[in-house]
């Protein structure tokens, strides 16, 4: 049936169809909004929860206590080897110098001494800042040459009294700290994210260029 047909027969077709069309449009819009809203909820709320699994460190560690006991700040334990390479997380050998026996009644230290020091087994720490193998990064260049503070990338971990929960990305296997806690990738502090763009923006700001690909991807 065409409009011209209605006119020809002298019907009053305008009212009733208009009402039908209006309600139909409303339903469509509602469904659109429902879909929109649901997917927003999934994307912003459910997805981040599903994406990360929570893992506990082998035992808790108090950085603040240790910082009070050492003279050279972070580098006292997170040291540079003689050849300039960065040693990363302290090894059992470094820790057991003091922790051959428990120094306190902390249950975490008890776990360390009884399960790891006694068995000469390295602690399988989950590393928040672990980057993929295809990235070359020199701590020496950043800390020694450029004189950057550790906290600039890692945050003020030195004053923390306990380790935060390790959130592991179920797809990549890396820590949530690389992408950052904000699922949209927004950051307030320099240490909120550790993606390539974050390296790039800092290099651009301080060195005038993001640098060539092979500078990090050797």
């Amino acid at each position: 049936m065409t409009t011209s047909d209605h006119k020809a027969k002298g019907d009053a077709p305008d009212k009733a169809p208009k009402g039908r069309e209006g309600s139909s449009f409303g339903i469509i819009v509602s469904f659109f909004l429902i879909g929109f809203g649901l997917s927003m909820a999934v994307g912003w709320i459910a997805f981040p929860k599903l994406l990360y699994s929570e893992k506990q460190q082998p035992f808790d560690f108090n950085h603040a206590i240790h910082m009070d006991l050492v003279d050279e700040g972070c580098e006292s334990c997170h040291l540079f080897r003689e050849d300039g390479t960065y040693a990363g997380v302290p090894t059992l050998d470094q820790c057991s110098g003091c922790h051959e026996d428990a120094q306190s009644d902390s249950p975490d230290e008890e776990i360390f001494v009884n399960e790891y020091v006694a068995n000469q087994q390295e602690v399988p720490w989950l590393i928040y800042s672990k980057q993929p193998d295809c990235v070359f990064f020199s701590h020496a260049v950043h800390v020694k040459t450029a004189e950057m503070e550790c906290a600039e990338c890692h945050g003020d971990i030195g004053t923390s009294e306990s380790l935060k929960v390790y959130r592991e990305n179920r797809i990549t296997g890396y820590s949530q700290d690389i992408w950052g806690a904000n699922i949209a990738g927004l950051k307030k502090n320099t240490w909120d994210r550790m993606k390539m763009d974050d390296c790039g923006s800092c290099h651009l700001e301080r060195m005038g260029s993001k640098g060539p690909c092979f500078q990090c991807h050797k």
């Binding site: 309600s23 139909s24 339903i27 469509i28 819009v29 469904f31 659109f32 909004l33 429902i34 879909g35 929109f36 809203g37 649901l38 997917s39 927003m40 999934v42 994307g43 912003w44 997805f47 994406l51 080897r81 050849d83 390479t85 993929p132 193998d133 295809c134 990305n169 797809i171 990549t172 296997g173 890396y174 992408w179 699922i183 949209a184 990738g185």
Partner: protein, 736 residues
């Protein structure tokens, strides 16, 4: 109100639109891309503690010290050793790719016996005991048949304990036929014998670090000549202190491009130019009168011969260099700053040169008094640390026996080895005069000129034993392969013969455990000698090779083990008064015009000349290129798998060629399909071909890429030294 199909469509569109406003698609894409990097089959280097171990590189005669970076037990990187007197921290592309030779696919991983025809590549593995027993059986048969001199051995050099152990075994067994891979050092040593009059072999040394003017007769100063890393560093230092370097060459090589002037002489007239320069220096009285007067003999005769035959007009005609340029160059050379020196040995110096040319160039140095002086050319005394190499009873065992190559005979008295003469000697006999051949650290089936003839000659030898760590062309022709540990897996002393201005001995150390079922060639020789027993067995009193090395090194061992090298820091060459031997104890100028062989090929059939083009990116010695260095070869040398020939555009057009197009290159020895690259930097009438490609052995990274220079060029025997001085061949090229 009706919910219909459109409602659900709207729900879907809404969901899609909503999703686009969430981080989900972007985050998911990022995560998925990272996930693909972590697939379990993606190779990831092992993590662990990093540490360094020191050793010495043996991939060329340069003798660089290396620091090997390891993660746990795996080598991950090779760097130059900063404290080493040769390379001072520098390293070349081949040197850094050593780990690919260690872990790469071209290793011979166990003793192997040929089970098909020669070159067919069919092998069966056998135990070391069986392999050594088989060699022993054959040696004993030669001994029983009184044919001990039918055993021959080819090594890369005669320096160091391993080649000397081979030589000792041969000598005590009764064979004088120990031969070495030819190089420019053979020519230099012959020159030192002739002109310095010394009976013992001296090393040629160049005090490049203290010179102000370098006149290079075709030497690839920054392309692998001498000790390559040292030369590149010396070249940089020349630039800083504004020393002058003049290159005499037919094409604009990298060395020529970095020099202060290029003299493109007609090929083969280098000796004429050297004597032309000598003529100017003498006529203008620019020579060192103290040296020529009191410390040389034959100078007046030399002067007469040169002024008569090599005046600048004649030389200009011969060389194509204008008269005034010859005069200017001679004046510069004779008056440059405090010191100047002239060098020769073409390209990387991997072939010998004519005695005429080498003596002419050395005479130039002598004329300006730059023999054994700061910034000049030195005769460097051997460290002479292998006392057992000179034992009289060993020499007596081969007394009266003639070498097959006639080196050291009255015909070629100044040559120690003439491996280039071996193929023709074998081919001209009905039955091969060599019945058993050992090949260690050498690949004559690839590196000797005239490959077809060499392989034909090897084919006539009944039993060939290769000690190669890699499946190279000679191993491919062998009957038995007894693979050596590679340099990163073994101990060995490395006396450096790279034109250094002081003696240096390096020590390769086993920085990793042997990766395969290989054995140190030194130990194999000891086992063979002990198995032979009698005089041979008694000549090898050591428990094993390491015992031999430690005892031989004696006082030097501790220093070598700790630092990786021994050197005489304060070494100074002998002053003129005691430097020379001979009847008068003086430097001997020669007034003989020595004959030069003609270039092979008829001018009518082959109007052009083919010369080699040598580069640091292509290893042209017995060690093949690594996968990494092959990748560095530019497409002006290798395009896909096709070799690229360099030709002057004018000559190219005359031959009907087009730049970048295919052509057929033909020499009297063979032909090959190539691509043409027009290059203004090469003399008209010449073609340059990269040397070191076209392997028929090794694995997929090297085999079948480009064409082999040595397959197209035959040997040219120097009538005086007997050495192969081949520097090119007549050729023609036509489009396809």
């Amino acid at each position: 109100m009706k919910i219909d199909r459109r409602s659900f469509l709207a729900l879907g569109i809404g969901a899609a639109a909503g999703t686009a406003f969430t981080p989900l698609p972007w985050k998911l894409t990022d995560d998925l891309s990272i996930w693909t990097q972590n697939w379990p089959w993606t190779p990831v280097p092992e993590d662990g503690d990093a540490y360094y171990d020191h050793s010495v590189c043996t991939l060329c005669p340069g003798g660089c010290g290396i620091l090997v970076r390891k993660i746990n037990d795996r080598i991950v990187k090779i760097e130059g050793m900063p404290s080493h007197p040769v390379n001072r921290g520098g390293i070349c592309a081949l040197g850094i790719s050593g780990p690919q030779l260690l872990y790469g696919p071209d290793r011979v991983i166990a003793p192997m016996k040929r089970s098909g025809a020669r070159g067919e590549g069919k092998w069966t593995t056998l135990s070391w005991d069986d392999a050594i027993a088989e060699v022993l059986d054959r040696l004993k048969k030669l001994e029983a048949d009184n044919k001990t001199e039918h055993l021959a051995c080819i090594c890369d050099t005669d320096r160091g304990t391993v080649p000397q152990l081979f030589k000792r075994m041969l000598s005590l067994f009764g064979s004088p036929n120990f031969m070495t891979t030819p190089s420019m050092y053979d020519s230099y040593e012959a020159v030192l014998k002739k002109m310095h009059g010394r009976k013992d072999t001296l090393d040629i040394g160049f005090d490049f670090e203290n010179t102000d003017f370098i006149l290079s007769f075709g030497s690839g100063v920054i392309e692998g000549w001498g000790s390559p890393v040292r030369m590149i560093m010396a070249n940089s230092a020349w630039k800083t202190k504004k020393a002058k370097q003049i290159q005499i060459e037919q094409r604009l090589s990298n060395t020529a491009a970095s020099s202060n002037g290029l003299f493109a002489v007609k090929p083969g007239t280098e000796a004429d130019l050297a004597l032309g320069l000598a003529c100017v220096i003498m006529e203008e009285e620019l020579y060192d009168k103290a040296f020529t007067g009191a410390y040389s003999t034959g100078f007046p005769e030399f002067r007469n011969m040169v002024t008569k035959n090599y005046n600048p007009d004649v030389v200009a005609e011969k060389t194509g260099i204008e008269r005034h340029l010859i005069i200017e160059l001679a004046r510069h050379f004779a008056s440059a700053g405090t010191s100047s020196l002239a060098i020769c040995g073409r390209g990387k110096g991997q072939t010998a040169g004519s005695m005429m040319e080498f003596m002419a160039v050395h005479s130039l140095n002598a004329l300006v008094g730059k023999i054994n002086t700061p910034g000049g050319v030195w005769s460097v005394e051997h460290p002479d640390y292998i006392p057992w190499a000179k034992e009289m009873n060993v020499r007596a065992a081969i007394a009266g026996k003639k070498r097959i190559d006639e080196a050291g005979s009255p015909v070629y008295p100044d040559s120690l080895s003439l491996l280039n003469r071996l193929p023709s000697k074998i081919l001209e006999s009905k039955e091969s005069p060599i019945e058993m051949l050992f090949v260690s650290n050498a690949n004559p089936a690839y590196t000797l000129a005239g490959t077809d003839k060499v392989i034909e000659a090897l084919g006539k030898i009944p039993f060939i034993v290769s000690f190669s760590s890699y499946m190279d062309e000679t191993a491919d022709q062998a009957d038995l392969i007894l693979p050596n540990h590679i340099y990163l897996e073994r101990y060995q002393d490395v006396p450096v013969r790279g034109g250094l201005a002081r003696p240096v001995i390096g020590l390769t150390r086993p920085v990793v455990e042997p990766q395969y079922d290989t054995m140190h060639s030194g130990d194999v020789v000891l086992k063979l000698a002990k198995g032979l027993g009698g005089q041979v067995g008694e000549g090898f009193p050591w428990d094993d090779y390491k015992d031999c090395l430690e005892k031989t090194m004696a006082d030097r061992w501790k220093e070598l083990e700790e630092t990786g090298f021994w050197t005489d820091e304060a070494y100074q060459p002998k002053p003129w008064a005691g430097a020379f031997g001979g009847t008068y104890g003086k430097f001997a100028f020669s007034d003989t015009i020595l004959p030069l062989p003609d270039l092979e090929g008829d001018v009518k059939d082959y109007p052009l000349i083919l010369i080699p083009k040598e580069s640091m990116r292509i290893s042209s010695s017995h060690i093949g290129d690594t996968p990494f260095t092959v990748k560095t070869v530019p497409d002006t040398e290798l395009k896909g798998k096709t070799l690229v020939i360099e030709i002057n555009p004018r000559t190219g057009k005359e031959q009907g060629l087009a730049d970048g197009k295919d052509a057929v290159l033909k020499t009297p020895l063979g032909q090959v399909r190539v691509k043409v690259s027009f290059f203004e930097g090469i003399m008209p009438g010449l073609m340059a071909m990269p040397k070191g490609l076209g392997h028929t052995a090794y694995g997929k990274y090297l085999k079948g890429k480009g064409a082999s220079y040595n397959a197209l060029v035959g040997p040219m025997e120097d009538p005086v030294s007997g050495q192969d001085i081949s520097w090119g061949i007549r050729a023609r090229i036509s489009r396809v």
